[in-house]
């Protein structure tokens, strides 16, 4: 099955992809136009966000097309689409800023808006200044996931609670976004370095499979209910907020049968790892072919799970184990599961890209040496930004809570991020760590950044609760 697919994936000739993406963008914009005509309001935030999504998706598809075929003209159109998306994104930020009267940094939604913006800017910078053209293949899908998440999270303008009314908020959050985007870039560059550094394709297979397995395992372990249901947080559509039974205790609803589907996907997702283990143990490369087929199968199943999840969790009322009656839920109530599922599909697809088009990728990317140097440079950019972000946060905390450091989880994790990157710099400068080890370190650093950004907000309690 995978073989057959490989044969179909001959380099697309000339303009096919551009025309297809162009048509898709035109179609979506036309749909949006109909919507505008109906609502009579062109510059609403929803429309701007929609335009952002459309252009970023187009850019992502074209960058991916470039990654697959190596056709140089794709990049030009991809850049153009990124520029247009950036324009819409900027307009969305400006609109929100104007409407709320404060810079858009006060909620997860607003921060995502700024994060995606910074990511797009840095992608263009990396492309124009350093010639890393394929970087959009990684950063644009991240931006797309960001915009999709934004569509789900609540969007009403929230007034600022007293603690957030400070100029230091803007300084602090701007620095944070810049630093995190620089970290994201160093992560993407480190991944590309690993490809250029002849990291074995089957090692990537194992890592891909293990990551998707981790995603599904954490969903199944925490949310699988008896009779094969999947429990999700209940959502109050009136207040646009999660439903709490008591302080800190959320109400969960159970979607029947979805748990079984998750379990099945978990098994299929685990199978490439099993085949990989067999191949290493028996020394029989035949198992690797099986493993690659299993990856292909797992992508189909993952997409199916994602679709079923979206269809069932988007709306509808479901029973709960903790309370009588039926309760509504929505995708916005489960942002983590959704991004996990989307992320799983995305990394599996990236693996397929690597499997099928590795020589092309290697030809297109800058040399391993250059990538290593640029990764280091981005960390050199990120580290002072992280330092200033922590310092401005401390100063602000001192103005607001009367203490510059109170070991709040977000603060502590920001310090941990700082320490990880400090470790990277020390090992690189004094021990001469180059190449692989430095790349792994950069990847670890970004993982910690992601945990600080999302994990701490949702999983750990603290003063940063509103962001």
């Amino acid at each position: 099955m995978a073989r057959a697919k490989v044969e179909q994936q001959q380099p697309a000739t000339g303009m096919t992809l551009i025309v297809m993406v162009g048509l898709a963008i035109a179609f979506l914009l036309f749909m949006a136009f109909l919507n505008v005509v109906k609502s009579g309001n062109l510059l609403s935030e929803t429309n701007l966000l929609f335009a952002t999504l459309v252009f970023y998706s187009g850019a992502g598809a074209l960058y991916l097309g470039f990654g697959v075929t190596g056709t140089g003209s794709y990049v030009k159109f991809a850049s153009l689409a990124t520029w247009l998306g950036l324009l819409a994104n900027t307009a969305a930020i400006a609109h929100r800023w104007y409407e709320s009267g404060h810079a858009p940094f006060s909620s997860v939604y607003e921060m995502l808006l700024s994060f995606v913006w910074t990511l797009a800017v840095l992608t263009l910078v990396a492309e124009k200044k350093y010639g890393v053209k394929v970087i959009g293949t990684v950063t644009m899908p991240v931006a797309i996931v960001g915009v999709v998440l934004m569509q789900l999270l609540r969007t009403e303008v929230h007034p600022l609670v007293p603690a957030l009314q400070s100029t230091w908020l803007h300084v602090h959050v701007t620095l944070a976004m810049l630093a995190y985007a620089a970290c994201a870039l160093s992560f993407a560059l480190a991944m590309m370095f690993l490809i250029q550094d002849h990291l074995q394709t089957d090692t990537v297979l194992a890592v891909t499979s293990a990551s998707t397995l981790a995603i599904y395992a954490s969903v199944v372990l925490t949310r699988f209910e008896k009779w094969g249901g999947l429990s999700l947080v209940a959502w109050d559509p009136e207040r646009k907020a999660e439903v709490f039974l008591s302080k800190g205790v959320r109400l969960f609803v159970t979607i029947p049968d979805l748990g079984w589907l998750m379990m099945l996907t978990l098994l299929v997702v685990a199978s490439p790892l099993v085949f990989y283990g067999l191949a290493r143990w028996k020394g029989n490369p035949g198992f690797l072919t099986l493993a690659n087929r299993a990856v292909f199968l797992s992508i189909l199943l993952q997409v199916m799970t994602l679709i079923v999840f979206i269809v069932r969790a988007r709306d509808g009322r479901y029973p709960s184990l903790d309370a009588e009656g039926l309760f509504p839920t929505t995708l916005a109530a489960s942002p983590f599961i959704l991004s996990g599922l989307v992320g799983g599909v995305f990394i599996s697809l990236l693996y397929l890209l690597l499997l099928w088009r590795r020589p092309d990728l290697e030809r297109l990317l800058p040399s391993a040496d250059a990538l290593d140097r640029i990764t280091y440079k981005t960390v050199c950019l990120a580290f002072p930004l992280l330092t200033l972000m922590i310092a401005s946060g401390a100063y602000w905390a001192n103005q607001t809570w009367g203490s510059y450091w109170s070991w709040d989880p977000k603060e502590t994790w920001a310090a941990i991020t700082w320490l990880v990157y400090a470790g990277y710099l020390h090992m690189r400068i004094t021990r001469g760590w180059r190449g692989r080890r430095a790349a792994y370190f950069a990847i670890l650093g970004f993982a910690v950044v992601m945990f600080t950004f999302f994990g701490v907000t949702y999983l750990l309690p603290g003063l940063h609760a509103y962001a």
Binding site: L160, Q399, T400, W407
Partner: protein, 483 residues
């Protein structure tokens, strides 16, 4: 024995100063801090919540080893001290080398250095002097101040920029130590607490984090406090008008809001909350005689006030519950929030020598309102408010802020200020007797950008060489060499 001790001390020093121990300590700090964010921490978490989250045995063990207050545990402080020690030792260990490098720049490159250096370039020149002049002019045009170095009978041109960059990493490490020093000073002599004031109240007692009370040498009075809301009801602004009272007179007044504290003699007062204090300001009532004869009266009562309704009867406002609950015929306070208020009034008749209990709302299981000589109806209720202040004294924070500024400057130097050096040496080939100008350069970071700069310099030197007349200065060369 003495030798052994010295050897041991040396070995210990090497271990502390090594990068390995630094990294091990960093990893330990990372792991323990992560644990501190995952395990619920005292005193931020309610004791009840702690007990429901962990089993009693686990909680006892975690309390004993300090896992429930990681960041104030002795072992965490010890670890931070070790980290500081490690930074100091590593800096002391490496500083002499850097200092030598800094204070005695390497100006005349010898033959082996010239062989190994990258980037380098050799240009054919007519004689020594024309090469030196061309190199000087090219460096001048790039904004450098080249100097001529004479070593025995050889000449060289040396130019450099931003030598301070070599020491920048020590600035960063020193500022980290300064920050640590500031936090240690705060840990030893600083304190933090809360002070809740009702409007009009004066107090100098601050309740500290550990539950003890600290008496300030001056007092704080809250003249007024309030809250402004957005249209949707979420709070927009909390404010308090505070006055500092010392020796009986007001020495300072300020209206504070969140993010804008009051500072007096090293103690800061921050607005942190505002809300009902659960105390009633005034209760408005309408009283009608139970026997139907006589006038309706409107009265207003503060807590513990009493008012006479007629010659025989008085009413006293005895108790108030902002949020009440009844158990076994007794009324209890559930919370300080005005959720479910109850007021207890006592109507006293002198002639009957009897007290009648009246409750709002009527609580039949506690008292029968109808027996009293007056029928009372509550019409309005005004609640008192308190302003919540965070109080802190942080004598070490100046160390922290100067450390923060220094670390910013230091990092800017570490990452963006490049120490670059250029050398130009006229070399005579002993076999052919022809001269060439050896040009070399080095930078301590960002080497690929430096290489472009170097190539640019080489181009400039080549151009200058074309314009320098070869023979004109040859006489001067002889005199200089003769010196």
């Amino acid at each position: 024995m003495g030798v052994n001790l010295a050897a041991l001390a040396h070995k210990t020093w090497r271990t502390i100063a090594s990068i390995q121990s630094g990294v091990v300590l960093l990893i330990l700090v990372v792991i323990l801090s992560a644990v501190g964010t995952i395990v619920l921490q005292r005193p931020a978490t309610d004791p009840d919540e702690m007990q429901s989250a962990y089993s009693p045995q686990a909680l006892r063990i975690m309390d004993a080893v300090g896992l429930t207050d990681v960041f104030h545990a002795w072992w965490f402080l010890g670890l931070m001290l070790l980290v500081s020690l490690c930074i100091v030792a590593a800096s002391i260990d490496r500083f002499p080398n850097s200092w030598r490098y800094f204070s005695r720049p390497y100006k005349y490159p010898d033959a082996s250095f010239r062989r190994a250096l990258h980037p380098q370039k050799s240009l054919a020149i007519a004689d020594e002097e024309s090469g030196l002049v061309a190199a000087e002019r090219a460096l001048h045009s790039l904004g450098f101040k080249p100097e001529r170095v004479v070593r025995e009978d050889h000449f060289a041109i040396f130019a450099e920029r931003h030598r301070i960059s070599e020491l920048a990493v020590y600035i960063v490490h020193a500022s980290l130590l300064l920050i640590f020093f500031g936090t240690i000073v705060d840990g030893l002599w600083g304190w933090r607490g809360t002070l809740n004031l009702n409007e009009g109240q004066t107090s100098n007692m601050v309740e500290l984090r550990d539950g003890s009370t600290r008496t300030l040498p001056f007092a704080i009075r809250c003249d007024a406090a309030g809250q402004e809301n957005y249209q949707d009801g979420t709070p927009k602004k909390w404010w308090s008008k505070l006055a500092v009272v010392e020796a009986g007179r007001d020495v300072k007044k300020k209206e504070i809001v969140v993010n804008d504290p009051l500072l007096y003699s090293g103690v800061r007062f921050y607005q942190s909350s505002y809300g009902p204090n659960g105390k009633i300001d005034k209760l408005a009532l309408v009283a009608t005689p139970s026997n139907g004869s006589g006038q309706k009266q409107e009265i207003g009562l503060a807590l513990n006030d009493s008012v006479s309704l007629d010659a025989d009867t008085t009413v006293r406002f005895a108790e108030f519950f902002p949020d009440y609950a009844i158990r076994d015929g007794q009324v209890y306070k559930k919370s300080n929030y005005l959720e479910n208020p109850a007021a207890h009034l006592v109507v006293t008749s002198k002639s009957a020598r009897k007290d009648f209990d009246v409750w709002f709302p009527p609580l039949d299981e506690v008292a029968d309102n109808s027996k009293a000589p007056y029928q009372l109806h509550a019409t309005d209720l005004k609640m008192g408010h308190f302003t919540g202040l965070q109080v802190s004294h942080e004598p070490g924070q100046w160390g922290v802020w100067s450390g923060v500024v220094l670390i910013g400057i230091g990092l800017a130097f570490v990452f963006y200020v490049v120490h670059m050096r250029f050398w130009a040496v006229p070399v005579c080939d002993p076999k052919t007797g022809k001269y060439s100008l050896w040009i070399g350069g080095t930078a301590n970071r960002n080497r690929d950008a430096f290489e472009q700069r170097f190539n640019h310099l080489v181009e400039l030197v080549e151009e200058e060489l074309k314009t320098v007349p070869p023979a004109s200065r040859s006489g001067q060369v002889v005199t200089v060499a003769g010196n």
